[in-house]
Symmetry: D2
Subunit: 375 residues, 4 copies
């Protein structure tokens, strides 16, 4: 129940058990082709939109957005926490201007404030974090995108903790990025980006981007691979892409709609359990709840000790990393192949651990609330 890398299905892992597969092999090219086409379906993309799968992860995918920026461009960063702030850390290494809108801990930046700022001043791009991994806060990205579409050239969404677990579509968005090791349920090693036609058209030699993370260099590879032809720019993570293709197969077997519903159902059950045992959630209001990450505030015990005890009981949770809430919370990840048993086992173990450590919880009440939510 970590926020990522998540638990991975053995059927996915088995695809990596290949000792003799090169980047020109038929199997690899087919897996790459399948994955790109699956991305198109997942994001309900139009033919001129363009999927990318590049080595690295979420942060490298974020940095590759520099392929769309030119010297002097202005970027508005909408930050609900640590990973929102990361956009600023990345972009400040490049000759572009950055302004950050920050939310209060437990809340998201409201669409009104974003729209206002974009009306106030002209920006090339705005970035948003769909689900802020550090707190579990969800930004209403589709509403924002609709309202600011005409005000800004590029709308960029970090979907690292949302893609395939929250509503996923490229509508009004130019870059929707994620990483292999989150809700897609593959080991870490690749960043995935879906670009709108508008974004693809901005790829040029004049961007501020470097070489390896420059999407322009990867574009011909993506096009060849999607046509089923091998191509080389730099060595791709061959085994990982064999696994990723399997993950996409499993995702399509479940169906995006069912998948989002399942994540919603499990997250509700977990929140019910948390509240049932008498604890509070970091997200201050239901609109900010996410399907994938729940921040849990504790009153008395040390969150680090909770994580340690949970680990000893076989359940790995994630520490709280938002500086403003340091030492006050921990996080439960619930994405990928999570199911009802995971929710029940997590709440049961958490109850016992908190009880043992002296946090005032009533044994069995959180569990009952989760059970009633699931029934």
């Amino acid at each position: 129940m970590h926020v990522g890398p998540v638990t991975i299905d053995v059927d996915v892992l088995k695809e990596g058990l290949r000792g003799d597969v090169g980047f020109t092999s038929r199997e690899f090219v087919e897996a790459f082709q399948y994955s790109l086409k699956a991305m198109r379906r997942l994001f309900n993309a139009k033919p001129n939109d363009q999927p990318f799968i590049i080595p690295g992860g979420g942060t490298s995918a974020m940095e590759s957005v520099t392929s769309l920026l030119r010297k002097g461009d202005k970027v508005l960063v909408v930050s609900n926490g640590v990973f929102g702030d990361r956009w600023e850390a990345i972009l400040s290494r490049y000759p572009v201007t950055v302004k950050v809108l920050r939310a209060e801990p437990g809340d998201y930046v409201s669409p009104d404030i974003i729209e206002e700022e974009l009306k106030r001043e002209k920006y090339t791009a705005v970035t948003m974090t769909h689900v802020e991994t550090s707190t579990g806060i969800r930004e209403p990205i589709y509403e924002v995108a609709k309202r600011v579409r005409s005000l800004v050239d590029l709308i960029v969404v970090d979907g690292v903790s949302s893609v395939s677990a929250e509503e996923t579509k490229l509508e009004n968005i130019d870059v929707f990025l994620t990483a292999s090791q989150k809700a897609l349920g593959t080991p870490p090693g690749a960043g995935l980006l879906m670009l709108s036609e508008n974004a693809v058209n901005r790829l040029s030699d004049d961007s501020v981007a470097g070489y390896y993370l420059n999407l322009k260099n990867w574009l011909p590879v993506m096009r060849s691979m999607e046509e089923g032809k091998g191509s080389y720019f730099a060595t791709p993570p061959v085994h990982l892409i064999l696994m990723l293709a399997k993950s996409f197969q499993l995702i399509e077997k479940e169906g995006l709609e069912n998948r989002v519903k399942r994540h919603a159902r499990i997250s509700q059950a977990i929140r019910a359990g948390i509240e049932g045992m008498g604890l509070s959630i970091v997200a201050k209001r239901p609109e900010a709840y996410s399907n994938t990450v729940t921040g849990v505030l504790v009153k008395k015990v040390n969150p680090a000790q909770v994580l340690q005890e949970m680990n000893n009981s076989g359940i790995e949770l994630a520490p709280g990393v938002h500086p403003a809430l340091a030492g006050k919370y921990f996080r439960i990840g619930h994405m990928g192949w999570v199911n009802e048993n995971d929710a029940i086992a997590t709440i049961a173990t958490l109850e016992r651990v908190l009880y043992k450590l002296g946090e005032p919880v009533k044994l069995g009440e959180g569990l009952k609330a989760t059970q009633l939510q699931l029934a």
Copy 2:
């Protein structure tokens, strides 16, 4: 017998079969720690030298060298082929000046020429490619490094196709980089760099580097991991590092000296076979031969057809990619866990394929030469 990704031992692959391992897990941290310490031993490094393992591969490791460069720095690139030229392509995206010394196809840039240029003009850094993957040419890097040590601040070696298969040591070198999927025998997904103390001291916020490939950002992670403590900058390729640690174990079990000898022995046997059947090698003189890649010139047949037929017989070779020799050669990779049987099977199949396609070879003669070399 590809130039990379190479054939991977199933014992290495099995380490990746973990569904539940996060980047804070004890097993991952221990695998990372072991790999960093193994790098120190492999390169015979001093305590203040610093190993790095970062996501990506050879090209990203090359680009991360920008972490050591400042605006306006001058870099001399010694290029023996496609991957030497890549340094120019990467560095030209950054505000540094680049000059390239290019070798004739089939030869390397002589130490005299390099020394002369570095005496003629002051450069911050010189880059060399230990074994040029595109042609199989080996540069005498240790001789060059010794001769130019006092003339230049940073001596950078691309050891992608050499580390652990050719003599490997940090002597007089500031950056020695490689990738997981070459002679180390792990799937692709990580770049590895060994930095001298001198290089580590140059890491600063003033470098021209971006964010994800900026070694300064990864330095605290490497130091924590080597101390056995988890740490986070961006999600590492967890499963890959579990596999890499296993590869290092196998490498240490064999011993570096034995490993280099084995590669030398197999490469000699392959060259004997090639010449025995009447073909020539791209490398023009024995000093340019490498232990890891052999370029093979054909007279009559189409190299692409040779590769296709070899593939049908279960042996994957690599195409020739040096533009000056386009359509005239193909490559045999012989790195990682190659053994005598691989050499024999490759030469045998190659003889039969070339014979069938009409190249003038004498059946059995190449094979006999390989056998006599091995006996």
Copy 3:
């Protein structure tokens, strides 16, 4: 949560991923040697006692006991259910005489009755089933063995559903047998037997046994393997034994005492949940409870439907197979690597399934009882 094959650790499964290992290979011989020595430790055996690992499973291990019987021998079978009765089915194919003592459903044959029968008439052997898989009933084998030790030549225990999960020792017992796929946590494919010195001495060409299941034929193989020397009688299940050795390693890491305690703790939690939700257990009194299998009686619903719905929720239970209770119960297996999360998830899902199917259960109450038992 099946009664077997149980859930298997991926670390065990990975040991079978060997494409090139023959029955004379060092690794196989070492795995066999390790497994035999681990059996000695598990059963606290004396030097002249003898472990056997033979192809097949529980039934073949039972049949191999014919290696100790001669024409005309009399065997007393103590049967608490289907697998007790199996002794009669097996032995009736051989020229020996069999008498069966049968327990009431939900109970075991009392030590008094067994002792009385053995006093009344002279038998060569008595067989008991430690835990009767068909009902989850445990026989007090150590008490019986102590009381009848002087009355009978051979005391034989079927420990298929008990070894390593209930108290396991060869004390006063001549043959203690099990199968790889039960509490040992390895895939099915091998039967394991621990023979006392007394039993080993009875192995002779005069037995009624056939050839393949004749322990006399396997004895020299076992002795060679334990000395680390390859030996052949018939091809052993090579990959399975590599896995079995890993299972024994994991078992020794946990320790037998801890392992039995864990099974006891989980079985208590499951029984608490069953009773908490208002259902009854097949075993009529606590002395008959086992650590590994719980039979659950339902009042209203069809057990087959319960199993079907449980399966759909990802938890596989086992059908009731005792003819006297046909259609009235199902079974929960809790052996191998079961933990608290398994107990919680099983009870939670069972509650929801039974509730949905119309069995009168109070949602959350069984779960709470399990949680309190575990806290």
Copy 4:
């Protein structure tokens, strides 16, 4: 290059990586069903013929033939070596009469002699070994079967080292048996038998067979499984059958005819190499050659030392086990997924090893003969 267990494809092994699959699971039942149907196709069986897959291996499959014999039956055993003699060892444990016809070492029992004996005296059954694993001798079973069909009730063939590598069909044969770990390319753990309608009709409670290896007990399981319905008699080797189904898939993809041709081609190349380097083959005449096993006679060196040195070079051969030729030969197995590279590598290594040990061989000549045979 062992005579079994043979080298196993990783795609087959991966199928066994299942931690949660029971013997009632849909996947297992489907794999069993597929395997049984594939057996029918492999043997070109008629609808009333019956395939069996039972735990164990070749020897247990042989012993299960007792299911067809009644007290007092007479069996003629045609033995070309160790595994022919094994029939006698097995059957002598049962109340039937056995007579053995033995061939000279290096030869097979001629059809004339068999026919003559069956005319001379009435036998219930005759057994033959298609390819005698201990020597590599092939018996002309189809000719014999045709000639003696009317003289005997049951014609039984041990196809352990032949099925799918030599011509495979049930024509005029009543029982054709093999084991999973031979040319089928699956790990050891199962015996496979194809029974004619005539043989199926003989299954009765009156047979001399025991319980576990009694085909009558397994018959309802085979019928249920083939209809896609789970069934239980004793726990089958679940994981092995998942792998076996994959092997059958790969076999059907290649096609039986191609598969037999490939085995023939590789065996010819190996024999050419052996003779090319100046050694002799155990089989005295070409009619006795098999596609799967070649016995190699040495003049000067100790075969055990040859095997040891081969092992050190990464190629496992098998010792000679025929008592009459003890210390004079070793065996090369070439079944399963053997290819041209295996033949070349085996001959090359063997040449070097024999040369090094002092056997008079001419380096490169055996290899050249193999190469010319393959070209």
